[in-house]
C-alpha cells in the first residue's frame, strides 16, 4: 500500500469525472496539435507554391559595369561580361553550412551565336535542373531535348527564324535538331536558343565555364540571407543575390499563421485548464470525508497533496497522449479540406513529447489549488461533514 494505490483506486472509481477532466486536457492539447499541424502544412504548401516562382538565389560573376537592362529592355552600350566561373568549383556550393536546404542548382552558360546572319542568345543549361526550376516552361509540342545535338527554341526566336519542331538548325556550322518550341513566357528565354550545357560550352568555346547559376533554396524558415553569405564566401568572384521579395512574403505569411495559431491555442488551453480546475475542485469537495479519514489516520498535509497531484499527473499523461493522437487525426482529416492541395505532413514525435509534457504541466498547475485546499481541510470539520 502506497499513496499511488489510493490515486489509482480513485481514478478507477470515478471514471466519469476523470474522463471529463481528461476531456478538458484532450480538447486543449488536440487543438494545439491540430493548429500546429495545419500551420506546418500551410508552410509546406506556401513553400511549394513559392518554389514554382523559380530560383531565389542567383549567382553571377562580379562585374565592374552597371547593367543597362530593365524589365527585359536592353538599352545597349555594354558588352557581354567575359568573366565566368569554373564549372569544377560549382561542387563547392554543396559544402556550405546550410547545404541541406539547397534544392535545385541550375548552372548556365550564355553567349551569342549567329543564325541566318542574326545574333541570337544561346543558353546552355542542364535540362533536368532547369525544367525542375522553371515549372512555367511549357512546350507547344514535341519533346524536351535529351541528346547533345538537340535544341529548344524560345517562342520569339522560333517565329523570327521561322523554325518548326523537327527542323534542322545549324549553329556555328554544327547541325542541331529542334525538338520543341516553348510557349511564350515573357522572359529572356523567349528570344533564346536553349541547348545542353556541354554542347553550348563547346560551341561558345567556354568549356568548363559557367556564366551564371540559379539556385532554389526553400525550406521551413531557412535563412536565405545567411545562405547567400555562405555561398558568397565560397565564390569570392561571384555576386550572390537573394530574391528578397519571395522570401519576405513567405516569412510574413508563415508568421501570421503562427501568431493566429498561438492565440487560438492559448484560449483553448485556458478553457481546458479551467475545466480541469473545476473538475478537480468538485472531486476534492466530494472526497471531503475521505480526506478527513486520511488526515485522521496520520497522513500529513503533504501526503494528501501528493495523492491529488499524482492523480493529476496520471491524467495529464493520458490526456497528453490522447490529445496528441486525436489532434493528429483531426489534422489528417481537416487539412485537405481547408488547404488547397494541402497534405498532412506526418506525425511529429517531438511535438508528441511536448504535448504530453504540456498536458502534465497543465493538469498539475490546474490541480495545485484543489490539492492545496484538500490538504488544508480541517480533519475534524471534514469528518463532521458526514
Amino acid at each position: 500500500m502506497k499513496l499511488h494505490n489510493i490515486s489509482f483506486g480513485n481514478i478507477k472509481r470515478r471514471k466519469g469525472k476523470m474522463l471529463f477532466l481528461v476531456l478538458g486536457l484532450v480538447i486543449g492539447i488536440s487543438t494545439v496539435v491540430t493548429l500546429l499541424s495545419i500551420t506546418e502544412s500551410m508552410t509546406r504548401n506556401i513553400e511549394q507554391r513559392l518554389n514554382r516562382f523559380g530560383a531565389n538565389i542567383v549567382m553571377v560573376p562580379k562585374s565592374e559595369n552597371l547593367s543597362l537592362n530593365y524589365g527585359g529592355i536592353d538599352v545597349g552600350g555594354v558588352s557581354y561580361n567575359v568573366r565566368e566561373f569554373d564549372q569544377e568549383k560549382l561542387a563547392n556550393i554543396r559544402t556550405i553550412k546550410n547545404y541541406k536546404n539547397l534544392s535545385i542548382i541550375a548552372p548556365k552558360v550564355l553567349g551569342p551565336v549567329k543564325v541566318k546572319n542574326k545574333n541570337v542568345l544561346l543558353m546552355g543549361v542542364v535540362f533536368e535542373e532547369e525544367l525542375a526550376l522553371k515549372t512555367w516552361w511549357h512546350k507547344i509540342g514535341g519533346v524536351f531535348p535529351e541528346k547533345e545535338n538537340e535544341v529548344m527554341l524560345g517562342s520569339q526566336a522560333a517565329t523570327l527564324f521561322g523554325f518548326k519542331i523537327g527542323d534542322a538548325i545549324s549553329l556555328l556550322g554544327k547541325p542541331f535538331k529542334v525538338t520543341t518550341i516553348l510557349k511564350p513566357t515573357g522572359g529572356s528565354e523567349d528570344d533564346a536558343i536553349i541547348a545542353g550545357l556541354s554542347a553550348s560550352q563547346k560551341l561558345l568555346g567556354k568549356e568548363g565555364r559557367l556564366s551564371m547559376v540559379e539556385i532554389s533554396a526553400f525550406c521551413q524558415g531557412c535563412p536565405i540571407s545567411e545562405m547567400t553569405l555562405q555561398i558568397a564566401e565560397k565564390f569570392p568572384f561571384a555576386k550572390v543575390t537573394a530574391m528578397k521579395q519571395a522570401v519576405m512574403s513567405k516569412m510574413q505569411s508563415i508568421d501570421m499563421f503562427k501568431s493566429f495559431s498561438l492565440g487560438i491555442s492559448l484560449i483553448v488551453i485556458l478553457i481546458g485548464s479551467l475545466l480541469v480546475l473545476v473538475t478537480m475542485m468538485g472531486s476534492v469537495n466530494e472526497r471531503t470525508r475521505e480526506i478527513g479519514i486520511f488526515r485522521a489516520i496520520g497522513f500529513r498535509r503533504g501526503h494528501v497533496m501528493q495523492i491529488i497531484l499524482l492523480e493529476a499527473l496520471l491524467l495529464g499523461i493520458i490526456g497528453g497522449i490522447l490529445g496528441f493522437g486525436i489532434g493528429n487525426l483531426i489534422a489528417y482529416g481537416i487539412i485537405p479540406l481547408v488547404i488547397k492541395d494541402g497534405m498532412f505532413v506526418g506525425i511529429n514525435m517531438n511535438l508528441g513529447v511536448i504535448s504530453i509534457l504540456m498536458a502534465v504541466a497543465l493538469s498539475l498547475l490546474a490541480s495545485l489549488y484543489p490539492a492545496f485546499k484538500a490538504s488544508n481541510m480541517d480533519p475534524s470539520e471534514a469528518l463532521r461533514a458526514l
Binding site: M1, I6, G298, F299, R300, S380, L386
Partner: protein, 226 residues
C-alpha cells in the same frame, strides 16, 4: 505531594464553536486523566460534547482553551504536521459508521495507515494479515467494503485502527449501527485489545457498553460529572 504523570491528561479544557452570531460551548470545562492500558467509556447524550472531546483527544480538533497531554506530549503545542505524525504513531480511530474507503479492498483499507510509513511491502502485508485474522476476516481480505455486512465492516475499521499498533484506540459509537449480538462481539474484541495493552476509549450513549469498561466518564452539557 508527588506529581503523578498519567498517560492522558486533560487540563482546563474548553471548546467553543462559532455558529453565525451565536457561540456554542461544546465543552465548558473538563479536567480528567486516563492511565495507560485503561478501558474507558465516555457516556453522554447526543450533543453532550462527547464526540468533540474524542476529536480533541485524537489531536484532530484544536481546543479553545486548555491542554491535552498524551505521554507527556502537549498535543496542541505541536505543529499541524507533527500532530499528523502523532496520530499515525499513537492513535487508532474507529469512526462512527466505519468510514472505510469504498474503492479499496479490505486488505488495502487495513494497510492505509501504513501508506505513509517507509516499511517494506512484505512487512505491511504481514502486519495487515495479522490484524485481519485477529478480527476474524481472514477469508474476506480481497473484498470491497460494500460486499461486507455491517459487523464485518466494523471489524475492518478496527483492524485498520490497530494495524500500526498504536497505544490508544479511540472509538466513536462503535455499536451504533450494529445489532446487539454483533455489538456484543465487537465490545469483546475491544476488550481483548485492551488486555493486549491498548488504552481503549469508547464514546457512546449506549449504557450496555459500560459493563466492558474499567471506568466510565459521564458527560453532560459539556462537563464531566460523577
Amino acid at each position: 505531594m508527588t506529581q503523578v504523570n498519567h498517560f492522558i491528561e486533560i487540563h482546563g479544557l474548553k471548546k467553543t464553536y462559532q455558529s453565525g452570531d451565536t457561540k456554542v460551548d461544546a465543552i465548558k470545562q473538563m479536567d480528567f486523566s486516563i492511565d495507560d492500558e485503561e478501558f474507558i467509556t465516555i457516556m453522554g447524550q447526543s450533543g453532550s460534547g462527547k464526540s468533540t472531546l474524542l476529536s480533541i483527544m485524537g489531536a484532530l480538533n484544536h481546543p479553545t482553551q486548555g491542554k491535552v497531554l498524551v505521554d507527556s506530549l502537549d498535543l496542541y503545542s505541536l505543529t499541524t504536521e507533527q500532530r499528523a505524525d502523532f496520530r499515525s504513531e499513537y492513535i487508532g480511530f474507529i469512526f462512527q459508521s466505519f468510514q472505510l474507503i469504498p474503492y479499496l479492498t479490505v486488505l488495502e483499507n487495513v494497510k492505509l495507515p501504513m501508506a505513509v510509513t517507509g516499511w517494506t511491502k512484505k512487512l505491511k502485508d504481514r502486519m495487515a494479515f495479522e490484524v485481519i485474522d485477529r478480527v476474524g476476516l481472514g477469508d474476506r481480505a480481497h473484498r470491497l467494503p460494500d460486499q461486507l455486512s455491517g459487523g464485518e465492516q466494523e471489524r475492518v475499521a478496527i483492524a485498520r485502527a490497530i494495524v500500526n499498533k498504536p497505544p490508544i484506540i479511540l472509538a466513536d459509537e462503535p455499536t451504533g449501527n450494529l445489532d446487539s449480538k454483533t455489538a456484543c462481539d465487537i465490545m469483546m474484541l475491544l476488550q481483548s485489545l485492551n488486555k493486549d495493552g491498548h488504552t481503549v476509549i469508547v464514546v457512546t450513549h449506549n449504557p450496555g457498553v459500560e459493563a466492558y469498561a474499567d471506568r466510565t466518564i459521564r458527560v453532560r452539557d459539556g462537563e464531566c460529572y460523577a
